[in-house]
């Protein structure tokens, strides 16, 4: 992305009908939303057909845009020239350079293609920026500097589209998964009381998400960001008749609002710091060019981090995400696994130079982003261990994986983070939809312990796709998760010989632990769901094609998308041309040269390490096997058991002490499984869960509770008691003094006369002496 060397080439801007008309992609589902809202109930399929058509059309467009983008990248040097020497030399034709010759972000490849129109402007006309479709980002540069001068200059708020690798990637992911979810839902929410509303909101969500993804300005980003939040709110609370659902929806929205404080403040700071501009490229440019002080960048990064934490479920603002599972499962797959929750990660990527500079990622060993990501990834992994609810397992797993992505970005592994976002979308969507399929078969229950078990025989398609998803998530080579996870671990630069942007040892360790944890909890989840004996009371059956086909498609994706970003060494070693390597990086990561503050530290890519891959995979496999062993042993004892009745965790009272002694033999037998697997699963994960539910979640709930209490206090004692009372009291005292003064009026004429003469005499005396 950014390199140390001086860049001598010119900015390259691609052009294509697809880039110029990319606004159609969000417009289609938006139109679909309106149509469904207005006419949905009168349509034969209650609006579902409109939503599906629109989203499929959008997917088609997105696919074409993606291909165009890839083609442009490939023509523009492609894989052969991605090495740094070649890159510097490339000088394509479609160059536009910043007119003022100022150092800034200069792209040699993958420069954002911007199409903006002025949404509205505030300020004096003369200074207002007008951005035509032809003038690119660079054209805005000149004007942007004008605003910086003097006071009260014009403000322009543009609306438009920004097409670059990152947004194209998300366009593809969002439309793809949304299409599948749309199709899947026709079966899954069939006959729902608010089927039409459901589709309307799916469409609206898709539109908002795409709108956000394509945003060229921070303000547009905020708009999209909030809109997806509302859709999430509406869909989590889809069954709002039940209070827990609406509670969860409220919690999601409010927690996100907390993060939005950071978003608003951070964007505001950046707006002014970057010379009064909302334009994302301009802000990035200002950050890279050193126009913004380090302190300002750090503060704004921290503010934005709050937004990321809430939206992408990072500790400690993650608690809404598991609750959000109250929504319909396809929604969880689309919104709370694959797309909306990665908005935070996307935001970091969008403003990466700001974060990169703000947190001083280059050459660092730890920073807030990497730490939060690391903590989240481990914490989420632990929490996933103790869930009974299959969706909650997946939810915590999502939290964990999102932590992974943030960790990646925090250590400077931009491509790795984005790549993980990409692969995760497929296998996690696959898992969620699989869980949906399972619950569809089990009377809409998500309780693994009570209502599942042994389902592999009843629903083989679901089972196998689920297994593929699990393997991909656990990072089993050669599935998708392996490649992206490996790249993140490499990117930390902590493993000898990887040479990342710094030496992020702690995040690296967090990453390794998570690699093991992921495999472990997913194994537990798979075992509880598909192995052992069926414990429920329904008649499980395989779901219909509208459910299984999307599952299969996603599973296929989960298998192969990892190959998009194979390390060069690997590609060469298996005998493919080096052109096969790092395709994802080529396509998504823009290349260019930046002038850094100080100019010493640049953005570098880590070198992959085979040893690390083996270690990480080994850890995962080992963890998975231990858990597997634990459950097979358990199964041998009792086919229907889901947990040792007297596991470590349950032996916490004196009354159980005698029992424990008697069972010692048993414990010796199972020392291995119990202490290692159960130890992790039991006390540690439980402790984490306890902490999560009682402390973290408690904090969130308490925040709500306390603010209500404070509200009551303020209202009762300050507002009614002091402020309002002051007014009433002054009124009363006026009235009281009136009562007192009435006593003057005794009715005695002689007293009246005395008063009159007395007053006359006193006043006369006073005035005589005064003058």
């Amino acid at each position: 992305m950014f390199a140390v060397e001086e860049f001598t080439g010119e900015v390259v801007v691609y052009s294509s009908w697809f880039y110029d008309n990319v606004w159609l992609i969000p417009a289609l589902p938006a139109a679909s939303f309106l149509i469904i809202l207005l006419f949905g109930k009168r349509l034969p399929y209650k609006g579902a057909e409109v939503g599906i058509t629109a989203v499929l059309a959008a997917f088609g467009l997105a696919l074409l845009t993606t291909f165009t983008w890839i083609a442009d990248i490939e023509t523009d040097g492609g894989a052969e020239s991605h090495s740094e020497e070649a890159m510097a030399a490339s000088g394509p034709e479609l160059a536009v350079e910043a007119e003022d010759g100022k150092e800034g972000l200069k792209f040699s490849r993958g420069a954002p293609v911007i199409n903006e129109v002025e949404w509205f402007g505030i300020g004096t006309d003369a200074n207002r920026v007008t951005l035509g479709a032809e003038e690119g980002a660079a054209a805005a540069d000149g004007d942007a500097d004008d605003h910086g001068e003097g006071f009260g200059g014009g403000f322009s708020i543009p609306i438009g589209t920004l097409v670059d690798g990152q947004s194209v990637m998300l366009l593809f992911v969002v439309t793809f998964i949304s299409s599948l979810v749309h199709i899947y839902s026709t079966d899954y929410v069939h006959g729902d009381r608010r089927f039409t509303h459901y589709y309307a909101f799916l469409s609206l969500f898709t539109a908002s998400m795409l709108f956000m993804v394509l945003s060229s300005s921070t303000i547009q980003l905020i708009v999209g960001w909030e809109l997806v939040g509302v859709c999430s709110f509406a869909l989590i609370g889809h069954w709002w008749e039940e209070k827990p659902n609406s509670d969860a929806a409220l919690k999601a929205f409010l927690t996100n609002r907390v993060g939005d404080i950071g978003l608003l403040v951070g964007m505001t700071i950046l707006y002014f710091a970057a010379g009064r501009t909302f334009s994302i490229p301009e802000i990035n440019e200002a950050a890279v060019a050193g126009d913004i002080g380090q302190g300002t960048l750090l503060i704004s990064s921290l503010c934005l981090m709050a937004a990321v934490m809430s939206k992408s479920g990072q500790f400690i603002l993650h608690t809404w995400l598991p609750d959000a599972m109250a929504g319909p499962t396809p929604v969880s797959a689309l919104i709370h696994a694959a797309t909306m929750v990665v908005a935070g990660v996307y935001l970091i990527g969008r403003l990466y130079p700001v974060f990169y500079e703000g947190f001083g990622i280059a050459g660092g060993s730890i920073n807030a982003m990497a730490f939060i990501g690391g903590l989240t990834t481990v914490g989420g992994g632990l929490l996933a261990f103790v869930q009974r609810d299959i969706k909650k397992v997946l939810a915590y797993s999502t939290v964990s994986q999102l932590g992974y992505m943030v960790l990646a970005l925090g250590v400077g592994a931009y491509t790795a983070g984005m790549f993980h976002l990409f692969t995760h979308a497929f296998f996690k969507a696959c898992l969620f939809l699989g869980a949906g399929s399972v619950s569809h078969a089990c009377h809409h229950s998500f309780d693994m312990k009570a209502d599942m078990g042994g389902l592999r025989t009843y629903m083989p398609k679901t089972f196998w796709t689920f297994i593929i998803g699990t393997a991909a998530l656990a990072g089993i080579p050669p599935l998708a998760g392996f490649w992206s996870k490996d790249e993140i671990l490499v990117g930390t630069g902590a493993f000898p010989g990887t040479d990342g942007n710094g030496t992020f040892t702690i995040p690296f360790i967090f990453g390794l632990i998570t690699a093991a944890l992921t495999a472990a909890y997913m194994t537990r989840c798979v075992w509880l769901t598909f192995f052992g004996e069926y414990r429920g009371h329904a008649h499980p059956h395989e779901s219909g094609p509208r459910i299984t086909v999307p599952l299969i498609i996603l599973a296929v994706m989960a298998v192969w998308v990892g190959f998009l970003n194979m390390p060069t060494a690997f590609v060469e070693s298996v005998g493919l041309g080096s052109g096969w390597a790092h395709k994802f990086e080529d396509w998504v990561e823009p290349e260019g040269v930046a002038t850094f503050v100080g100019g010493a530290n640049g953005f570098t890519h880590a070198k992959p390490s085979l040893l690390l891959a083996i270690v990480a995979t080994g850890l995962g496999l080992a963890a998975g096997l231990i858990v597997w062993r634990y459950y097979t042993a358990l199964y041998a004892k009792d086919p229907k058991a889901t947990e040792y009745s007297d596991g470590l965790a349950s032996r916490n009272s004196l009354a159980a002490a005698g029992h424990r002694v008697l069972e010692q033999k048993y414990y010796l037998d199972h020392l291995y499984t119990d202490v290692v697997a159960g130890g992790t699963k039991g006390p540690l994960a439980r402790a984490a869960y306890w902490f999560n539910q009682n402390v973290l979640d408690g904090v969130v709930n308490a925040a709500g509770y306390v603010s209500t209490l404070v509200g009551r206090f303020v209202y009762r004692y300050i507002d009614q008691g002091v402020v309002d009372r002051a007014v009433n009291v002054s009124g009363q005292s006026a009235s009281e003094s009136g009562r007192f003064l009435r006593r003057i009026q005794t009715g005695q004429v002689r007293e009246y006369a005395s008063l009159m003469f007395g007053a006359a005499a006193v006043l006369a005396a006073v005035f005589i002496f005064a003058f």
Partner: protein
């Protein structure tokens, strides 16, 4: 036509409702339908003339007073009948022109107890004239007269057609406002005499003050008086306590008008009169105004969290929302003032809408106690949806009108006008941003408790509870459409307010 509009347009628009009042006065009370018709015709006539004005308004010169006219009124004190329309007043005039007819339509089958449509609608029309007049007045005395004219009808509207505590609420409303306006009048007169050349013309005074005709300390004191007058009307913390009572007790129509237009008289006064005339004093006062604004934001939100009554909650939310408007104004930047005007219109539409809904809920459930409500979406799904959209708009969701009043105000606070402390205003900015969370909290809480869930047993099979009716649709649709349209096309307002706001901003900037 153009000639007519230039000379008479505003006058006709402002006084057309009074013609209706006279007509209604002559008719007996029992012909209720005729009264409603006359009221509607009068308000629509006013709106049509207003629409013609809006159409003929030269949007490229929105900083200039258009359709202006000045006639001698009270020569003794050089007070003129001086009116005009510019970009600053235009959105508010348009808002007023929209809201009153809608309220009258809503009244078609919602005349509050104890009835008497004649008196009710007459007051409404008088109110209409007063509000329009305030927004078009270019002379302080004229402004003052119109500003006060609205008191009377509103007092009666609350007092006669209000709720349980209506007597208390009405008098509180009246006394508070009167207190402010009395001091405001003193300020106006002080301004009149202290410039040395007696004039009440707003622009004239601004020029005189700019020429340095008024001592700095005098300016500060005069601004203080105006601050009280306008601040009470806004209302700013700690002068807000009349508002929850007035809003809660007023009949639905009264609450709507109060929220939609009346509160704006105060904020409009700040940007039309106080700040342009006394920019130096404004700079000195701005930190305090900002402080009270952000206190209002948090305080109003906390107040909302404590409410158990839907209408009172909405009322308290006005304190918070007007806090954003005042914060925008306190920044004294063109950006902030633009945001403030947008905020005024947005708040007018949104909170007006919320009060409409509250009124309709009350009509159906005969209670507004949040704890007893629930399941509106089940029993009256359309209304529940409307409530949902409006709450979302109120909490400042982008894509709906509320956002453009709120976010730009926060943005503007980051960099206030030169001469104001950046650090201080940045603290305000953060507090205001925190306010958005609280706003979301109480509004969603309201939504959850009223719209979500299932109806309580008490109302489960109540036949009175029905979905939105025709007059409600007619009255609400334009507002809802505007809420959405303004959310996506904020330039509708910003383009108009931009020039006048920039002019104010430049005056302030020139000082620093």
């Amino acid at each position: 036509m153009q000639d007519f509009l230039d000379n008479w347009g505003i006058t006709v628009m402002v006084f057309a409702p009074l013609v209706g009042v006279v007509a209604m006065m002559l008719l007996p009370e029992r012909e209720e339908e005729t009264h409603k018709l006359i009221a509607l015709v009068a308000s629509v006539a006013s709106a049509i003339v207003g629409l013609l004005l809006l159409v003929n308004f030269d949007y490229d010169r929105s900083g200039v007073m258009q359709f202006a006219r000045t006639d001698t009124w009270i020569s003794v004190v050089n007070a003129d009948y001086s009116i005009g329309l510019d970009g600053m007043s235009l959105p508010l005039v348009a808002l007023t022109l929209l809201v009153t007819p809608l309220v009258i339509i809503y009244s078609w089958n919602h005349i509050p107890s104890p009835g008497n449509a004649k008196a009710f609608l007459m007051l409404m029309l008088v109110l209409h004239t007063g509000m329009l007049g305030t927004f078009v007045a270019r002379d302080l005395v004229l402004f003052f007269v119109f500003f006060e004219v609205v008191l009377l009808p509103m007092y009666f509207m609350i007092g006669v057609w209000g709720g349980e505590q209506r007597l208390y609420a009405a008098i509180k409303f009246f006394l508070y406002t009167l207190f402010g306006s009395a001091l405001m009048l003193v300020s106006f007169l002080a301004l009149y005499w202290s410039t040395g050349s007696q004039t009440f013309s707003i622009t004239g005074l601004a020029e005189l003050v700019a020429d340095g005709d008024v001592a700095r300390n005098t300016q500060l004191l005069i601004f203080g008086g105006m601050f009280l007058g306008f601040g009470i009307k806004v209302p700013m913390f700690p002068f807000h306590t009349w508002l929850p009572d007035a809003h809660t007790q007023a009949p639905t129509q009264g609450s709507v008008i109060l929220a939609a237009v009346l509160l704006k008289l105060g904020t409009y006064g700040f940007i039309r009169i106080a700040i342009p005339i006394l920019p130096e004093a404004a700079v000195s006062w701005a930190p305090w105004i900002g402080l009270l604004a952000v206190i209002g934001i948090i305080y109003g939100a906390l107040g909302c969290l404590a409410q158990t009554d839907m209408k009172r909650l909405i009322a308290f939310s006005s304190v918070a929302h007007m806090g954003y408007v005042m914060l925008g104004i306190a920044t004294l930047t063109d950006f902030g003032i633009n945001a403030a005007i947008f905020g005024m219109v947005a708040h007018g539409l949104i909170t007006g809408m919320l009060f409409f809904i509250a009124g309709s809920v009350k009509e159906r459930y005969h209670t507004l106690e949040i704890a007893r409500l629930g399941g509106l979406l089940v029993q009256a799904p359309r209304m529940g949806w409307i409530l949902g959209i409006t709450t979302m708009a109120s909490l400042g969701l982008p894509g709906l009108a509320g956002f453009w009043g709120e976010f730009p105000a926060i943005l503007a606070a980051y960099q206030p006008a030169p001469g104001l402390s950046e650090e201080l205003f940045r603290v305000y900015m953060v507090i205001a941003a925190i306010g958005t969370v609280l706003a979301a909290a109480y509004l969603l809480w309201l939504l959850q408790r009223t719209a979500f869930g299932t109806p309580s047993e008490e109302f489960e099979d109540d036949p009175h509870i029905h979905d939105t009716v025709f007059t409600e649709w007619v009255a609400w649709t334009p507002m809802l459409i505007l809420i959405v349209v303004l959310g996506f096309v904020p330039s509708l307002i910003f383009d108009v307010t931009n020039e006048p706001a920039s002019m104010v901003g430049e005056v302030i900037a020139a000082l620093g």
